[in-house]
Amino acid sequence: MQNTVSAEAYVDVRLHVNGTVQALHVDSRVTLLDALRDELALTGTKKGCDQGACGACTVLADGKRVLSCLTLAAQCEGREVTTIEGLAADGRLHPVQDAFIRHDGFQCGYCTPGQIMSAVALLQEGRAGSDEEIREFMSGNLCRCGAYPNIVAAIREVAGRGSE
């Protein structure tokens, strides 16, 4: 039985990442996650499973949260991608970033970029109405250090301020 290797194909993609247009020439198999990390040196977005099951790679695409490990870079032509590096504006932390620090919403910090991107989207989705709702709609972002109660507290506080 012939087990063929797919012939390598390269594609040209123009991504809008954190407000900057990036022209890439990449292997068609490259995920958005690997393109961000390896091609654009935006290593804040993390690989926790590469199978769409942990949320560590969460970024915003056109304002909606997506799993960048399940998204091919080639699918993102022309889309506006926001990563953790693009969240702070003019050197000032986003309110969610600030709240995560004060509520100690992380320990090792590896899942944190994904948690924060997910939290920013959740607030925009209007899903922070109660602790139960926050817990449910943050359950796609795993944290093995177990910072969940502090993550809920941080999001609750930002929601209470009416931010975003």
Binding site: L42, G44, C108
Partner: protein, 741 residues
Amino acid sequence: MTTATREKVIGEPVDRVDGPAKVTGTAHYPSDFTFPDLTHAVLVQSTIAVGTIRGIDAARAEAAPGVLAVLTHENAPALVEAPVTLVDGPPPFPFKDNRIVHRGQHVAVVVARTHEQATAASRLVEIDYEEAAAVLRIDDPRAPVMPDRFAGLSGRGPGDVARGDVAAALASAEVVYDETFTTAPVTNNPMGLFATVARWEDDQLTVHDANQWPTMVRKTLATVFDLSETDVRVLVPYLGGGFGNGLRAWPHVILTALAARVVGRPVKLVLTRPQMFTSVGHRPESLQRVRLGASRDGRLVAVAHESTSTIGSLDNGQIEPVTQVTGNAYSCPNVATHDERARLNIPCPHSMRGPGTTQGNFALESALDEVSYTLGIDPIELRLRNYTEVHPVSGQSWSSKSLRQCYRAGAERFGWERRTPEIGSMRDGNWLVGYGMAGVTFTPGEAPCQATVSISRDGTAHMRSAATDLGTGTYTIATQVTAELLGLDFDKVHVEIGDSDLPSAPYSGGSALAVSLSGAIEDAIRNLVGALLDVVADDESSPLRGRSPDEVTLGNGGIQVADAPAIGETYLDILNRHGLPEITAFGERDPWANPASRPLGSFAAWFAEVRVDADLGLPRVARMVSAVDAGRVLNEKLARSQMIGGAVMGIGMTMLEETVFDPNTGRIANATFGDYLIPANADVPDIDVVFVGTPDEVRPIGIKGLGEIGVVGVSAAIANAVYHATGRRIRSLPITIEQLL
């Protein structure tokens, strides 16, 4: 020398100093590092559990686009045997010969220019196996028994307890209890995929590697590649969790460095999530028997606790100390404990947070709960009747012990007095409500540690040590300790860790790092003050001229005379006047050179409310409370987080987690985050933590260590609550809905 407490920062709930880096994506983990000519390695793993490799056909992989090398046992250069470390022996190196001892063993490494090319080519490596019969069950009589490697001919290890006459006491006890417990194998699964980036420059090796012990990885790599330790540098400024996974230099670390040497370019290897189940250890399965003898009034007259834990078939690992604290938890004249391991064809288990003790506590504290129902004595009262003021094995008094306060404060916060003792008596609609508790005695570690502390003319201080911060807060607490002891502002202190070139530090493990590092910092600052006083010894313009370290105190950014605080000067005054850019002192503490005069323990009480759906058997942990005696708490915010994190991991192993080995093939049937369920946000209730300890009288800064105790006791508290709610006594973790239907 004493230290003034004006800039008191120890204990305060300071935000993590690494917080801004972590929330902006600028904290660099090992897999984030790259080099211009970086290449990528992907592992090929065995698809049989035991046997030999008859042959390997790598031709198609080697011919695939971008491939630079395919390494296997057939072409890999021979390496020197890895050294035995403080924790245990090395895991077997997979490329030594053609033997396969577990499914998922590394059998080839494919190196290519890109990750995609390496991944594609890895599927083209063809391995011809000769398969043999695998031993995969803990109760398989063919599984060889591995006693403690320090055990004598008797097979009894140094951790085993034999006190009094257990057999006679059980034979004459008024109440006798005898049950078997099991705990499933569970996998650490830190979120950070373990990764190694290796680069050779001539015979100098630099490695960015996910581990909890850079100096051990350095020593291992130096040994196996026959280098001087000074020619190897291991860097891990940030680590995406570890929970024990990072306490060994696993084979993939060595293979990455080997691949980089073979291809002559830097190599990055990132384990996949399925490979995280087979390559870096897991908490072994345990099979335990607990026998108790008690009087009708609830006094323990006999405790016998035996455990078998699994281990890999060629692994030279340490004993899993399941019964480690059983002999010290309660006052009892007749105690016998024994731990051993059964060799199976499974990936090497290894340390996972609170190794052994976590599994053992589940059995012992569940057994006590059962006896409390037999005797009709409140579970807390039963524990108080067997409270021990002295460390039973040594007979000495503890260096500190506030377990009584843990029971009292925890019960109060939890509302234990609302508990009605009858099973199923606290129903709330369709929910069967149960309250359960568990006591915790834990033995935290301590290990030799070194550090330097420098004061610079820009007014900053630097603390440097080869320690790591795997999310435990080392950066922050080391800053607090240094700032307080120096009497400097917190934001003037900078901590550099995560680099094997820095002064030697022990593992982040065994709840040992905070205390070990604090002891080294204390010594360095003592030496720094001595050095500063030496500088001004003959300085006529110094108010400290001729003073000795015993006569001074530190505070307000300088040194003052202890009994005349108005007399003194700042560190900067001394450096400026003497034209010194900075002054550095070395410090170390070796707890083994002068063993503590009194035995050490940390203590806790866990309380859980569980709700079980009366029709569906659906179990939910509704809330948890812990009262902890960990001695002096360095940072209440981070300490609380660490306890909560332990509880979440405990909820996982109690309610959700089991690494399922297929009994026929040894394949892990659920090696993904989609199938192996760790707690998600919605699985975790409110967790209330209260610290009741006082500073320990023996250990540096009064610290006892908090890294592990949070996970211990969670399982028994939940299982005991499940029993109280439903009358189902679950002696097998995890507790699943099938067991409650």
